[in-house]
């Protein structure tokens, strides 16, 4: 068991409390067609236009599984370093709801396709935590009910009905909102690396049910409440903070927590009870007799395993060991597949640290500032690499390089071209540099005289020289000559 961290504890009126969190994430499989029908999964269509007779649960309609969805579940399982179950079973979860046309959801209850796995989450301060994955199973999404169109009616759209979801259930291994948020971010990163879910929380492709309980340090697990369908990482944090505080208040007032499903209201910033207690659910799970057990061969699993991309944890380890990057830079670069690939293209055959500085520094800043992504960036990895080459071979200084980069970002021109056209080539002609230095010294005799005792003044002189040369003088050369002329020992 994990030792609780002081900074994670919540101080109540009667002492500190520990939060215990487990997440059930519903990740929509990135498939074209639904799990058991041939209707489209495209987001945002007109109501009930992406509904087959199967999805509308017309009499006599039967499910046939989309094999691509099975492969994506296995792929995700492998990405979570999880046990793949060669035999799994689809069960019916029976309950009545207007957006559940069959009166049951086809899910996997007793025998899920993926068993235990693990996700390592990265936290500030080089801290990492392993969160256990209990299982991943495939199931159908429900339709959507609109409640605020009419005072007395709800409107039901079944476009989502039957879309394939992977429900990924974690162990109650998280101890703070920060950890829960990091978990969802990391899971999303893995899903996106694998390409099995687009991770788009705005469109509902990724939703989290958050199980929250609190306890005294070292005590048994408390009664949990499940906050359903939280659809942003920020809301996950807010919902946890609110719910933990609510539970502590109840307990400290001598009350008890009743296990229930709650809803997070982002406007009010609070959680609310969703279904009354007397509606105790009894889902009457049993194997769906319209489907046979889902049987995979080891060969099929091996083939999927062979097609897996390098995942963020491995990539990060490689970036640290092969490129000598700091864990921080490596973490930033591997958060998505595209920047990691971009970085590697820039670093290829170049100084990896210099490449990392440029990618995580000026490049990321410009993307963020101008609202671009890696995919839409006006500066290609090749062009950024060329810019770095110009610095390394002495054609331009690092300072000029920053100017060149901004120009590249603005109009997409080649760095070499910018340097040529705008005459930004570094001045390496010693006599020209010497002349500039002499002129600056001559103009500032007092400062030159003081420099022997105050070597720090050398920096001021370098600045002046760079100014008169519009930054094109090689700063190293300027420095060396200045030190000599001012009579400062270069060891100083």
């Amino acid at each position: 068991m994990r030792e609780p961290r002081k900074e994670d504890l919540i101080e109540g009126a009667t002492g500190p409390w520990e939060i215990v969190l487990g997440l059930e994430v519903h990740a929509q499989v990135a498939s074209k067609a639904k799990l058991f029908s041939g209707a489209s999964t495209e987001f945002g269509a007109e109501p009930n236009t992406q509904v087959s007779f199967v999805d509308a649960a017309m009499p006599g309609m039967l499910p046939v599984i989309n094999w691509y969805c099975v492969e994506q579940a296995v792929r995700t399982g492998l990405g979570l370093k999880a046990q793949i179950n060669l035999r799994s079973v689809f069960d019916r979860k029976n309950y009545f709801y207007p957006d559940l046309p069959q009166g049951y959801q086809i899910s996997q209850f007793k025998y899920p396709v993926v068993g235990e796995g693990v996700i390592v989450i990265d936290l500030p301060g080089q801290r990492s935590v392993s969160v256990g994955i209990e299982r991943l199973h495939l199931e159908q999404d429900a339709g959507k009910s609109l409640h605020d169109q009419d005072p007395s009616n709800s409107f039901v759209d079944l476009n989502r009905s039957g879309v394939a979801l992977m429900e990924i259930v974690s162990r109650p291994d998280m101890r703070s909102a920060e950890e829960a948020q990091a978990y969802v971010r990391k899971l999303r990163t893995i899903l996106r690396y694998l390409g099995t879910c687009d991770g788009n929380m705005d469109e509902g492709s990724l939703r989290a049910d958050v199980n929250v309980s609190v306890r005294r340090i070292g005590a048994e697990l408390g009664t949990r409440c499940e906050i359903k369908n939280v659809n942003s990482i920020r809301f996950i944090g807010q919902a946890i903070e609110y719910e933990a505080r609510r539970q502590i208040d109840v307990l400290e007032d001598g009350g008890v927590i009743t296990q229930e499903t709650r809803l997070f209201d982002p406007r009010a910033g609070e959680t609310r009870s969703m279904r009354s207690k007397e509606e105790a659910h009894d889902y009457r799970y049993f194997p769906d007799p319209d489907l046979l057990p889902l049987v995979l061969t080891q060969n099929q699993v091996d083939a999927i395993a062979a097609s897996l991309p390098e995942l963020p944890d491995e990539k990060k380890a490689r970036f640290i060991s092969a490129y000598g990057l700091s864990p921080y830079d490596a973490t930033v670069l591997v958060a998505e597949r595209a920047p990691a690939d971009f970085y590697e293209a820039v670093a290829k055959g170049r100084d990896p640290k210099l490449a990392a500085n440029w990618v995580t520094g000026d490049f990321f800043a410009a993307l963020a500032r101008e609202g671009f992504t890696i995919e839409t960036s006006p500066v290609s990895a090749e062009a950024l690499g060329q810019l770095i080459d110009l610095i390394v071979d002495g054609t331009i200084s690092g300072r000029i390089a920053k100017q060149v980069f901004e120009k590249m970002f603005k109009d997409g021109r080649d760095p070499a071209k910018i340097v040529e056209e705008e005459g930004l080539r570094q001045v390496t002609d010693l006599s020209a540099i010497e002349a500039s230095i002499d002129a600056v010294i001559a103009a500032n005799p007092d400062k030159a005289a003081q420099a022997k005792d105050k070597p720090n003044l050398a920096g001021w002189f370098v600045g002046q020289v760079m100014k008169t040369t519009s930054g094109k003088a090689n700063p190293q050369v300027v420095n060396e000559i200045l030190l000599r002329k001012l009579g400062i020992s270069s060891a100083g």
């Binding site: 046939v64 029976n94 046309p101 009166g103 046979l292």
Partner: protein, 492 residues
Amino acid sequence: MTDLTRLTLAAARDGLAKKDFTSGELTGAYVSAIEAASTLNTYITVTADKAREMARASDERIAKGDAGALEGIPLGIKDLFCTKDVLTTAASHILDGFVPPYESSVTQNLWNDGAVMLGKLNNDEFAMGSSNETSFYGPVINPWRRKGSDSKLVPGGSSGGSSSAVAARLCLGATATDTGGSIRQPASFTGTVGIKPTYGRCSRWGVVAFASSLDQAGPITRDVRDAAILLRSMAGYDEKDSTSVDRAVPDYEASLGQSVKGLRVGIPKEYRVEGMPSEIEALWARGIDWLKAAGAEIVEVSLPHTKYALPSYYIIAPAEASSNLARYDGVRYGLRVAGKDITDLYERTRAEGFGAEVRRRVLIGTYVLSAGYYDAYYVKAQQVRALIARDFTQAFEKVDVLLTPTAPSAAFGIGEKTADPLSMYLNDVFTVPVNLAGLPGISIPAGLSGEGLPLGLQLIGRAFDEETLFRAAHAIEQAADFTAEPEAWWRA
């Protein structure tokens, strides 16, 4: 012209091919016969116009020389099969006004072969019953009556409309479905032939589901040859049904007339149930003698778990039904009874929409699946089912087919058994084990009871060995020479 309704399906097929008469004439004769037989209540919907139109199209194809295997043959369709743009009710109030926008695979196969639809046949509501008394559209009457009596008898169930219509010559053949005996028992009660093929032989797509792991479509016809012809058209692989089996459909008709010499016929000793009427015993003995005389070898076999078949069936079938019928909720089709909220709407709609027997089975099914009871009932029943299937597998190591009575009695009176559900359930004692094991079974009329009512013998075969069933059934048919017919008392 002679009465065209007296022809068998095979004879009508040959007559149409020889252009002795047209499908228009044949269909016209049936439409008239149906109109004159409303007393029997066999049809829920008569599609006379559609029938004439289809017949006209058939006659054109015959004239052009591209006739299908069932070209111009007028058939009745059990109202459990969804028919595009034609009211489909499952004989339930809850499907009021439901007009499917799709055609079941089995009926589509028939139309593809050129068959003509006369209308939709009555049945027990959602196929739940053994006497066709649970239909919302009223009971179907058996054309047969006891010697010297005009009291009304049941035609068996659930395919009572099918059996009664075939016996009364209100169609050349009919589709039917069998979950626990619903093809074979009504065939036995009406002097017709009914075959339930192997589970997976006919597609279930578009057939209103009762119990998915047991439901199977098949034909009811005048004789064995007609059954062979009709089954060949109905059967076939369907990629829309996950439990459909991808196997070529043999030419069943070719099996007829082949010798049964050396065929090993098993007589399961456990089918000699207590209280079985002596005339059923005698009928069975006669069947054994006929096959022996034709050169078959008679072997006594044991199916030790037979007595557990009915109780396990009455757990499994209601359990699956309780879930399959959850989609009838008043939201997307059929009856809606207004309520003060959505739950009230569900409860009123389903209370009013389902008849007493359906409600009873849904409640039983809900109970046995509910928390705490699932293992004791459902899992136990599926274990027993495995043992029953194993009994058959072991028996078929020693024999090629099994011979048993179809039902423990002849047709009984309307209302005679409705007060006690259990006594009604016992009707299926000989047929239910066959569904549990997924095997093919056929009922052949083999004689008359002391009261002059038809009695059937059942042959049970190995999975997908319908050909042996047809061969043996034909031998029994020849030996039994069953030519009795009901008097046409119903004709208006």
